[in-house]
Structures are given as structure tokens and as C-alpha cells.
């Protein structure tokens, strides 16, 4: 079942187009890898579907609804940078999510925090990059959202944290949840992807099943990525 539809979406800034007549449909129950080099439009698209950026033209619908308060209820977004207030303790962050998201599961959050080796009394401002990424992910995955949007979840983190994040992502996935993960660390990500979407200059360059690409082109997604963006 279709969950996200983007039609002729353009985002124009003064000197450049971050998205250029982008068309895309995403289905329920799949893990999508949004791949592309820096400045290709991945983050712009992600911010757009969670309602943080408005398109200059074109339309986006989530679950057949226009982006707004109703769609925010089913979308869980993890940005690249820290978006949690530094004065908060982890306990406060959990309370915050519990206060603002009806689908937030306290027990699941405690479980995930334990799995990610985080303590509730720790202050956000004192966490390392890896710990912060793990915290952000724990909070997002503790929601029973329909769509999870993770922007560069592996940015600046060590291989052990990466493994933990991958494991946590796989734990929450089921046939009703859609996961959109952007990254340029394709090698680490490719084992969990159902579908890959290559974005370049604000457009979809290539889209399809990760498994089929591997079979058809006889190369890994990482190799395909290098092939697609060799001139970028």
C-alpha cells in the first residue's frame, strides 16, 4: 500500500534548486535507502515529508493526507544534528516524547535505552556524538509510528554504535512500518535495505529493489552507488 506520494516536487532557492520536479512513491512495510552525495536533495526531501520545509511547487501526500498536524502524528523524524535541548536529562527527553506523541511507548523506550547503554540521569549536553545518536534513535523508535525518517543516522559514530543502531532499526521493522534512511555510508546500510532510491541534483536518478539491483547488475549497492555517482 502506498504511504508517501510526491508529485513534481520542486524546492527552489535563489541560486539553485534543491529538488527539481521530483516524483516518488513509497510503499508501506519497506526499508528505503535514500542515497546520494552531499547536496543531492536527500535532507530537503526528508524535511519536506515531515513538514519542516514547504515545497515551492508540487504536492506531497502522506497516507493520502496533506502534510500537517495529522501526518505528523504518524511520522517519526530523526535529524542529523542534535535536536534535543541540552539542558534536558535523558529522563526529561523521554517525558517530552511521552507528552507530545500519543504513539510513544514508555516501556519500549526504557528497553531501547537499556539496549543502547544509556542512563536516564545523563544530561543531553554531556553526551558524546555516538551516545546522542543512540539516544535520538531510541526516542524515535520507541514511537509506534507508521513512517520513520532517519537522516544520516550513522554520522560521526563508531562501528559498535553503528551495529547497535542497525540492530535497533531491524527490531522495530514490521509490515506496517516504513523506514526511510539516508546515508552516504552505503556499505554499512545496504544489508538492511529493501529498496534503494538514488537522488542526484534534486531528482530520482534510480529507484528499485536492492535485491533485484544486486542480481541484475551483479554488483553490491555500494558498487552501484559508485557507478551512479562516478561523475558527481
Amino acid at each position: 500500500m502506498e504511504i508517501i506520494r510526491a508529485e513534481n516536487v520542486t524546492k527552489k532557492y535563489i541560486t539553485k534548486k534543491a529538488l527539481n520536479e521530483l516524483n516518488m512513491t513509497l510503499e508501506e512495510g519497506k526499508i528505503y535507502g535514500l542515497l546520494g552525495p552531499n547536496g543531492s536533495g536527500k535532507t530537503t526531501f526528508m524535511k519536506m515529508i515531515v513538514g519542516l520545509i514547504q515545497p515551492t511547487s508540487g504536492e506531497i501526500s502522506i497516507n493520502e493526507k496533506r502534510i500537517g498536524v495529522e501526518t505528523k502524528k504518524i511520522m517519526a523524524f530523526m535529524p542529523t544534528h542534535n535536536h534535543l535541548p541540552k539542558w534536558m536529562k535523558i529522563r526529561n527527553c523521554v517525558e517530552y516524547f511521552n507528552d507530545f506523541f500519543e504513539d510513544f511507548n514508555m516501556e519500549k523506550a526504557q528497553e531501547l535505552l537499556k539496549f543502547m547503554e544509556l542512563e536516564e540521569k545523563q544530561k543531553v549536553g554531556s553526551l558524546s556524538t555516538g551516545m546522542l545518536q543512540r539516544l535520538k534513535l531510541s526516542l524515535i523508535l520507541a514511537r509506534d509510528a507508521k513512517v520513520y525518517v532517519l537522516d544520516e543516522p550513522f554520522n560521526g559514530i563508531d562501528p559498535i554504535s553503528r551495529e547497535k543502531i542497525m540492530e535497533a532499526v531491524l527490531r522495530v521493522c514490521d509490515e506496517n512500518k516504513t523506514m526511510i534512511i539516508s546515508s552516504h555510508l552505503v556499505k554499512e546500510l545496504e544489508s538492511i535495505l529493501d529498496e534503494v532510491i538514488f537522488i542526484g541534483e534534486g531528482k530520482v536518478v534510480l529507484k528499485g529493489s536492492a535485491e533485484e539491483f544486486r542480481m541484475e547488475k551483479n554488483m553490491s549497492i555500494d558498487e552501484l552507488y559508485r557507478e551512479v555517482y562516478k561523475n558527481a
Binding site: 519542516l52 520545509i53 535529524p79 544534528h81 535536536h83 535541548p85 539542558w87 526529561n92 507528552d99 507530545f100
Partner: protein, 246 residues
Amino acid sequence: MLKLLKYEWMSRWKFFLGGIVIAIALNIDLIRSILNEQTPSKFAIFASIGIFVMGVGLFFDHIARMYKSLFGEERYLLFTTTCSGYHILGSKIIGITLEAFGIFVFAMLMMIIDQKIAVYKYPQLMENFQSFYTEGIKEIFTLFMILLVGYITFILIIYLSVTLSKSVFSVFKYGKILSFVCFLVISRIVGKVVGYFDKFVDMHALSYGMTSFNFEGSMSYFVFNLCMIGILFMITGYLLDRKLNL
């Protein structure tokens, strides 16, 4: 909306607590000086400066609240919650209003307590305060309300300008400058209209024992500001809800 307010205050409780402690300490010191017929101590001078600095700090904090929400790291958290733009703006305005009321009530309580204590030493104070309990409080409250609606209008003009820089003007290179120009233009227009009410509301006449206070004029001023608050709130709320580019 109240949940948003809860987190606004959670991050500031130390500031408010500090303010309350300094104000109470200052008040005790002043009362002690009055009762002992002494000049105010050095502590009273420093505490007064402290209170003034905190007041200025609170004013800048009120202005910065929207700026932080739109330009700070936490913007992605706030605007991905299920709160609408109107809710977010509403929580900020309610917060500022309640803080102003809190300060007003606190100051009034201090004044009344001081008077009750000082009256033992200076019984003649009671005579002067008779009218305070009847007319004085009512007039001080009216003045407070007039200042409050004016203050909220001013804050909303700033919030609208900040919101413009992250919505309509966000694609322009000089979006922040444009929004500042908007702030100046809106302030000027509002200022011109408010100037019309100046002849009714003579702030210089507002002192204890006031006789020339024009309630009719102040009511027009009050209603005008309420209308401005409504208009500014709707425009800013709409921009926050539908036109943001974070």
C-alpha cells in the same frame, strides 16, 4: 499548549527562583532599614541592580523565545511534534502573560506585606493607604493591563518578523534584513495608531493618588491592542503552521 509551557518553564526555573529569592531578600533588607531608620545597605543596592538586570534579561528572553524555536537546534523537535503553529505561538504568549501576572501579583503582595509591617512603626501610613485598598489597587491593575497588552503587541510584532524570516523570506539571501524592515514598518504603523490614544492615556498622570486617569480612553487603547494581538496572532500562527522553512 500547556505541555509546551511546562517545558518552557522547566528550562527557566532556576532563573525564576533566583529572582524570587533576591526580591524577597531585598525586601527584607529594605524593611529592616526602614524600621531601624537606616539608609539602605550595600546589599540592597546590589540586589536592586540584580533585579533590574534580571528584568532586562527576562525581556530579552521573551524576545528570544521565538528566535530560539525557529533558529535553535531544538527547532526540529518542536516542529515535528503534533502541535500546530497556533499552539506553539499560543503557549509562548500565555507563558509571557502568566509571567507578567506572576511578577505583578508578587510585587503587589510584597507591597501589602511591607505596608502591614511598616504601619507599626509609622501609624500615619495607614491613613494614606486607606484609598489604596479601595481605588489604588484597581487603578494599578488597570495600568498593568494597559502595559501588558502593549507589551504583548510589541512581542507579537517581533515574533511575526522572526517568523517571516523563516517562512516567506527564507529563500532570500537577505531574509533576516527584510524581516527586520518589516518589524520597523509594522512597529511604525502600530506606533502611529497608538499615538492617537496617547491623548487619552496620560502615563505621566498615572501615579499613586491619581485623579486624572481616563478610563474611557484607556479602554479604547486596550481594545485596539487586543485587536492587534488577535491579528498578529492569526498571521504569525498561520505562517508557523503552513509556511515554515526550517
